[in-house]
Amino acid sequence: MSRIEIKNLSKKFQRTGASDQSAVTAIDSLDLWIEDGEFFTLVGPSGCGKSTLLDILAGLSTPSQGEVLVDGQPISGPSLERSVVFQQYALFPWLTAAANVQVGLESQARHGQGLNKAERRIRAHEYLRLVGLEGVEDKYPHELSGGMRQRVAIARALAHEPKVLLMDEPFAALDAQTREQLQDLLLDIWKRTKTTIVFITHGIEEAVYLGQKVAVMSARPGKIKEIVNIDLQDRQSVDDIRSTQQFGEYRHHIWSLLHSHSRQDVAASVEKTLISSGATA
């Protein structure tokens, strides 16, 4: 429900008091345009600046240069309009599932534009039901499985109806079967709510399966190498879309984009063989 424009964005990390040379450039003049209601996935080698970018979008850190506009407005800090789902769930362990889901709703209420207590409880139950978790309202996070925790985290991120959902490898810690379930759940929610989703992943298949667009980033300093438009039919209407030829072509294209960079960089032939053996694995 929101348009995101990233203009000439750079982020340098520098230890206080350290010299300029020791600064790490995590993102280097990056431009990106994310449409209203788009499901945007982002892949790239480890350390290329994906999490750094997401932090900036969330308002948790500030750019060194350039700007990020959400619906034309620059980001001035964290906001309930942009929710984040973290890889390690980040649930508050001293709150029950339902209480976790209500944290954002309570903040909203404190700013005088939210639901009353009873309505908040109903909303929390609604969203827990939406992510397929009925009957765990009063359970604490340590009583839930990894998949259930991440479902609670998704419910918590959505309950106050943000315009943008930012997800940093949210399913990376889950087993394959749970991951596929949650991917479908996320697609359902996205279709229903039309929230703009920025989704970071290491999984090429995951990126193709979920994204309308897949942005491929190059290694440090982070830049966008190419944005691939994914033109597949409705994911769930086809049986096992991941095994179709079209899906495979997208997958391979993104795979080559991710690996061509390494080929240029890596001179040693030993490493080349390592990469090509990685292809068959």
Binding site: A58, G59, L60, G77, P78, S79, L80, R82, S83, V84, F86, Q88, A90, L91, F92, P93, W94, L95, V103, G104, S107, Q108, H111, Y140, P141, H142, R156, H160
Partner: protein, 280 residues
Amino acid sequence: MSTLALPDQQIRVETSSAQRTAPTGRAGATIRKTLYRSGAIIGFLLVWELIPQFLLEPASKVFLPPLHEVLQQLWKMIVSGDLLTHISASLGRSAIGFLLALVIGVPVGLVVAWFSRIGDFLNPLLEVFRNTAALALLPVFTLTLGIGELSKVTIVLYAAFFPVLLNTILGARSVDPLLIRAGKTLGLNNFEIFSKVVLPASVPIIFTGIRMAGTSAVLVLIAAEMIGAKAGLGYLITNSQASFLIPKMYAAILTVAILGFVVNAALVALERHFSRWARA
């Protein structure tokens, strides 16, 4: 556990057919476990009773009366209300000092942890204070605050303050930064991050400090009362000794032991209750 218990239970079934009253299954296991756990204490009490009775000469028996004499004395003091007076004197002082330590220690600890520069500045000094035995300062407190209640409460406050303070700082500093980030994205402002994330996240570690503080509050107070007081369990011990009322002295010592045990058990239960969400 349950599979291990299985063969054991079968054996029990055979024996219990002979003697119906034998406890079986879980209840039996619990009883046996409790018996085993209290075995050392029961053994110690038996030794206390039997050695003075049968092995000591009458002359040394005076200095170590058997358990039943001490218990008789204890009972007398309970009935006369004497004991209660001393217990409440001691408990009152430690409770006031202990609660003051909490009320000051937790907020100060949170502030010190939040403003890390204050923390870096104060930390060496705090370490010095913490490692100064509270009793070493008793003369100072007595000189400046007199020998009355004030110096007693102050020394308890001193002894209880540092475990609370240092554990609060430790707890607040070891909060997972991810939870703070999550809180920010859920619309919490700085104060709310503090009260709704940092404080609850540090509760288990703060409670460890509170438990340590409670134990040392009692210990230090008893010692302080032994040096100068007109009531309290510490006074009762030294006073009985000076008046050569040996069973009374032992009764007071026994009371101190039980009191320390009960205070610790209560604080452990409280700690469990407030940390039940923490992962094992």
